[in-house]
């Protein structure tokens, strides 16, 4: 799951990104409005965390033009202006949620989960496919009642597959979801992650099916 963090305070941006990566999100960080605009043009992020007071181009401005382009990516606005007026303006500009600084990281994460859940049209926080279970709250996988130990990249790939269980997921989609801008994107490495995941899923009732030329599909065995 890849997030875009737009925050002009370098240190806060750095530590927020680190903390979110701890929770198995891939995070891109930009520090001003112009860069945010460019990053959003790719449309690869599942969610945007947006500070409003940004140099070069204001956060509200970025948000408005994003919505004007018809982009419906969930946006959580993060700002030091906690006034009623500020909150109303942020939400009216197209924000899905609003969090005033200072905040507890747990709250930010809960709001991220809530927005992602809503974006994927799921009411339940727990996603299941066969005996594979993914709790979007704890962000942990379980297989037949046992917690599954995964590396961040494996986690990202399996997350994409389980959230779209029964549907084809292209290599490009997987690649966009797991690599942030800083990483060397290597589509061929996806095959390695899938191979490892298949091993870890052995003994369960789910299977990763390869559809040549199309991608992958997570399927529960009957």
């Amino acid at each position: 799951m890849r997030l875009l963090l737009v925050e002009d305070n370098l240190e806060l941006a750095d530590w927020l990104a680190r903390t979110l990566r701890q929770a198995q999100y891939a995070v891109d960080v930009v520090h001003d409005g112009e860069d945010a605009e460019h990053a959003l043009a790719f449309g690869e992020h599942a969610l945007v965390i947006l500070d409003l007071s940004l140099p070069r181009r204001g956060g509200l401005d970025v948000l408005k033009s994003l919505r004007a382009r018809g982009n419906t990516v969930p946006v959580i606005v993060l700002t030091a202006n906690a006034s009623l007026d500020g909150r109303v303006r942020g939400l009216d500009a197209g924000a899905d949620d609003y969090l005033a600084k200072p905040f507890e990281i747990e709250e930010l994460e809960a709001r991220i989960r809530a927005q992602l859940r809503r974006a994927s049209n799921r009411a339940e926080p727990v996603v299941a496919c066969g005996d594979l279970v993914f709790d979007t709250n704890t962000r942990l996988f379980g297989l037949a009642g046992e917690t599954l130990a995964l590396t961040p990249r494996e986690h990202a790939v399996l997350e994409q597959l389980v959230l779209k269980a029964g549907q084809t997921v292209s290599k490009a989609m997987l690649s966009a979801a797991i690599y942030d801008f800083e990483a060397d994107a290597d589509p061929s490495a996806i095959e390695i992650y899938v191979h490892r995941l298949r091993k870890k899923l052995e003994g369960g009732s789910v299977r990763i099916v390869t559809l040549r030329g199309l991608g992958y599909l997570l399927k529960a065995e009957e």
Partner: protein, 471 residues
Amino acid sequence: MPEGAQPARRPEGRNRLLPRASRSLRLQLLAWVVLPLAGLAAVNLWTSRNGAFATADLVTDRMLIGSARAIAEQVSMIDGVLDATVPPAAIEMFDTGDRDSVYYRVETADGRLLTGYPDLPAAKGRAGSDTTYRGQALRLRSYSHPIFGAGTASPIVVTVGVTLSGHDAMARQLWFRAFAQQLALVLIAGLFVLVGLRRGLAPLLKLRDAVRSRGRTELAPFSVPEAQSEIRPLIDALNVYMERVRAQMAAQRRFVANAAHQLRTPLALLSTQAAYARREAGADARDEALAALQKSSGRLARLAEQLLTLSRAEPGSRRPREDRIDLTEAARGVLESLAPVAVSRRTDLGLEADGPAMVTGDGTMLREMIVNLVDNALRYGRAGGKVTVAVSAIGNEAVLTVADDGPGIPPEERARVFERFYRVAGAVEEGSGLGLAIVREVADNAGGSVRLSDGPAGGLTVEVRLPIARG
């Protein structure tokens, strides 16, 4: 009431009794109109009393002479003998109901008593005169009348005297009328003064009520359309003052809102770093996060300190102090305390001074100003660069310059960097944006000025000029 409070209050209360009465405009004006008027009325009453008595004297004298003439005309020679028969009318004319006694005496030119009271003294002179007879005050008048054929007995002298009850009653009556008129005049004048004052003071009282009924935060200008031209300047001055207070309060509110705003991001950073450290299992990563957290909290403390300094530097927030401070000595102290920071940034920090430079001002704030200048230079100057603090006395000014060889500040931003919380765009170092605001506030308070310019080796030079302390 506590015992101790009483002695302190008593002298004030005693002294205020009189001045308080004279501080009332109403009483003052009333006194200035009515007292002189009453004085004039008193003088007037005194003269009118004299007039009344003079009139009564005149009337009594006329009656006396009339009476004497009536008596004298009845004196005649009958068979060669002078016969004096007093006609009753001559006595009865004095019967004014005041029970006056009338005395008379008729005598010949050679001193023979014809009739009347032998011991009644003669009136002196031609006019009436006052005397005392048988224990009573008496008005006397003599009249001499020639009698034909009386020889040396002619002229006869008739003296009539009357007690003063009627005379005094008349004088009193005349005088009382004048008294009543004067009194009415003074009372009417006083009444008009009061009515006039009430009307004249109405706008002032309205202003007082308007001021008194104002809420704590209500600072709109006062409007009293009916105020006279004498009161208008007072209202205008009051409104100018209110406007100043309003501007001051607005600035204060902006600053507090801004300060709260500026504290939010560092707090969010602290909380994020703490959350990261708590979840991190690896010891190295956790140590890194905790070290960063410590640094952040140190910076937050510095921000709080600067906010406090700034609020202390504001006019009116601290009692003005007139310390004599050697700027060179103060700079030396600051440099010594900041030396560890310079060492950790590998910055060559140095002082150039050619002797003491005495200035007058708040010593704590002046030192804080130098701390902010040097801290800024260390923070924004080049790591491994050079920061030079120079103090000199030029003419009647002490000049303190702090020069670094960092990136400097573009000329177009130099005016804005003195604004609170303003941060130069693209600055990597996370400062509070308060340092130069503090510097300017302190320099202004000490009667000096601050100027930014390019340093000799690039970078920024901040120059503070303060007036040299006299003596």
